[in-house]
Symmetry: C2
Subunit: 417 residues, 2 copies
């Protein structure tokens, strides 16, 4: 993508309405903009990063046997009445169609997926089953805030699993937990598994929390691995850890990037979903749900991976692989060298943002710092004089100059998956 033709509206000024660093950076780097409270437009750079995060999620969900489906946002009142949640979920957006019927915009999809699976699954032989979707949720949050951290319309991956017995459920729940840690690790997020309330039907659910001073959650942790959400914790900061009985409890601010929840028979009972077992008797079905918000993950990545000059994307979710900066000063030889390098990279399947704009070098570097593509390549008069192109490699670990003849080796190492 040539920067001169790209819709990447970067800005120097810190937007007045954004208070936390990730929100400021996402607006300044031209990733997104707010349409109305808690409702965002994703611009090309932001949407590219989000599609990459979605692909990571999709791969790991497929790896644990999840089958991708797609459920609608427009859902009839009747299914929410069956579970008693029409009046209970206060963030449900409700509307009336021309047919005079009531609808809700899905804030979650247990009410859709449970009768869907019930319709087709009649025998114990069809279980276990896990289906998921990557789809937009609507929640009429009274205080939509903090950029992508609490939206009224936001992307979500929600997986639902169905099991015949506790052991099978527990084993899948553990597998999903590992898959989640893998997703966050691939996205450059160091997530902690935190115990949270299990509602009426289970002792705990589990949240995946990323520690950051601007998080809106509070968690209590110990070095031994103990971690609980403030809603259920019974100790305070500095207390002796109730798990290892040695360490001291730390209190930290964090962002919730995912959660997994043992629903047990809460929804299968409501929809009277049972199957015939091998012994001819009707059996209860245990259910789990597993959520990750790709937009929230993106917000968290930006919150964690930045420095004073801008974002520093982890490789797997970077909107581009390489940021190619041409400093030509109208010199056609330099321009040609940059262009032919661009063509070669693109031809090799590498995604390149090529800054061919007619602006000052300082502006190009400032934008490159702000946008934060992990690898940067600079073609300038200086590098041409030395008979090679200077590759300035910049990421969290490294900041060095690579010569033209080394480019292909380094490319292998840094870019190829």
């Amino acid at each position: 993508m040539r920067f001169s033709k790209a819709f990447i509206p970067t800005q120097k000024e810190i937007p007045a309405d954004a208070t936390i660093p990730s929100h400021q950076l996402m607006l300044r780097a031209g990733l997104m903009r707010q349409l109305t409270a808690g409702v965002y437009v994703y611009l090309p750079l932001g949407y590219k990063a989000m599609l990459k995060a979605m692909e990571v999620v999709r791969e790991e969900m497929n790896a644990i046997g999840g089958q991708e489906i797609y459920m609608p946002a427009l859902t009839p009142k009747s299914v929410w009445e069956t579970t008693g949640r029409w009046d209970k979920i206060d963030v449900l957006f409700k509307l009336i169609g021309r047919d005079k019927k009531d609808y809700a915009l899905g804030s979650t999809h247990e009410e859709i997926v449970t009768p869907l699976v019930k319709q087709y699954v009649n025998s114990y032989k069809d279980l276990p089953l896990a289906v998921y979707q990557i789809q937009d949720k609507f929640r009429d949050e009274p205080r939509a805030k903090s950029g992508l951290l609490r939206g009224r319309e936001f992307s979500m991956k929600d997986l639902y699993s169905f099991h015949l017995d506790e052991a099978d459920f527990e084993s899948y729940y553990a597998k999903a937990r590992e898959a989640y840690l893998k997703i966050f690790s691939r996205c450059g997020l160091d997530a902690i598994v935190v115990e949270a309330s299990g509602g009426d039907f289970s002792r705990f659910s589990h949240e995946f929390q990323v520690v950051t001073p601007f998080g809106e959650d509070t968690i209590f942790t110990c070095e031994c691995g103990f971690a609980q959400n403030k809603e259920i914790v019974e100790v305070g900061e500095g207390d002796k850890c109730p798990a290892c009985e040695k360490g001291k409890i730390k209190k930290e601010r964090s962002i919730e990037v995912g959660n997994i929840f043992p629903l047990k028979t809460r929804f299968t009972d409501a929809f009277d979903f049972k199957v015939m077992g091998a012994d001819g008797k009707m059996k209860d079905i245990l259910m789990g749900c597993y959520g990750i918000g790709p937009s929230r993950v993106m917000g968290s990545i930006v919150e964690i991976h930045n420095d004073k000059d801008g974002i520093i994307w982890p490789k797997e979710v970077a909107p581009f692989d390489i940021h190619l900066v041409e400093i030509s000063g109208k010199n056609e030889g330099i321009r040609d060298a940059a262009l032919s390098l661009y063509d070669e990279l693109v031809h090799n399947g590498i995604e390149v943002l090529y800054d061919d704009r007619d602006v000052r070098p300082g502006e190009k570097f400032a934008d490159a710092d702000l946008i934060g593509i992990p690898l940067r390549l600079v073609v300038s008069e200086r590098s041409m004089g030395e008979g090679g192109v200077e590759w300035k490699l910049r990421n969290e670990k490294d900041n060095r100059i690579v010569k033209m003849d080394e480019i292909h080796d380094v490319m292998e190492e840094y870019v190829k998956k």
Copy 2:
């Protein structure tokens, strides 16, 4: 994907509520199911095909310089008031948030994209610009019908282009038209470009229509290329063609799979979006919009590509590359041969639906015919006896048997892109 674990609920019976062939086939092949009038759930097979159609659309939109963005469904009343469409669009779903404000669910996105682009584009140097999204639209259709052909919630690719003058607009419009024909051709659809009403602001818009007896549109065509929608046509069936003055006009039923529309200054004027030209004067901006519905494309593909036994997917949009049918009769040798072939294919990046179910061969073949993956591979006792696996190649052009040692050559030819 192993069929025994797959969520592919095929059914023999023709569903009572589906009247047209594509709708019946999509339900019977387990591609989707209706949640409520005009609102569908896509099951794994259907969603896989739809993701492939979306990828074709994405590639061709990128090829004409479209930049992918993502706009929300939840949109504030104010933007619809600016264009006077809050009361004018009768299919607009409206709702009120907790904040007591009015919102509409986007039925189209001119009202969002125009002020978005206006915010960032200030100079003639930033134009032309083309942005698109693949996103769900909501339309409160009074008669939602015909499976995916008229839904109340449906996927849509909408591209919007912005230009400084008529010549640039016309040239892009022609490019988009070619891109559309390429998309339909890749999806196995033989689309005709049909002139339709241009509303108040332009002589014509253009629809892409696929001729089928179950289409809900009516078009009038001549062999010379003349084609008009019934809304604007001034001739009848059998009349002399007004274009070539030789051929006779044919009247045909068809499905609209896409449309492109010269919006000219209809929306840029409404939002007072002008830019400074090279001569320092403010210039009007011309706009075009270009729509394709991936779900409608999928419905049309199924409508066109089927025989009495089921769907026959075109290669590019088939949910799987190969349907591997194992007829083992509990023979472990055959089962092992099928499994190792499955592993090899998957390892080579080929998407395989492997029917490892413990059901009668007749049921496996009936499901394979119904689901319609273009290539079928059968591993049975007979093929083992001959020392090779029998590959039954079935698509619209071909129906033959390939021996094991030819498999890799044929695979290259048929599967690799």
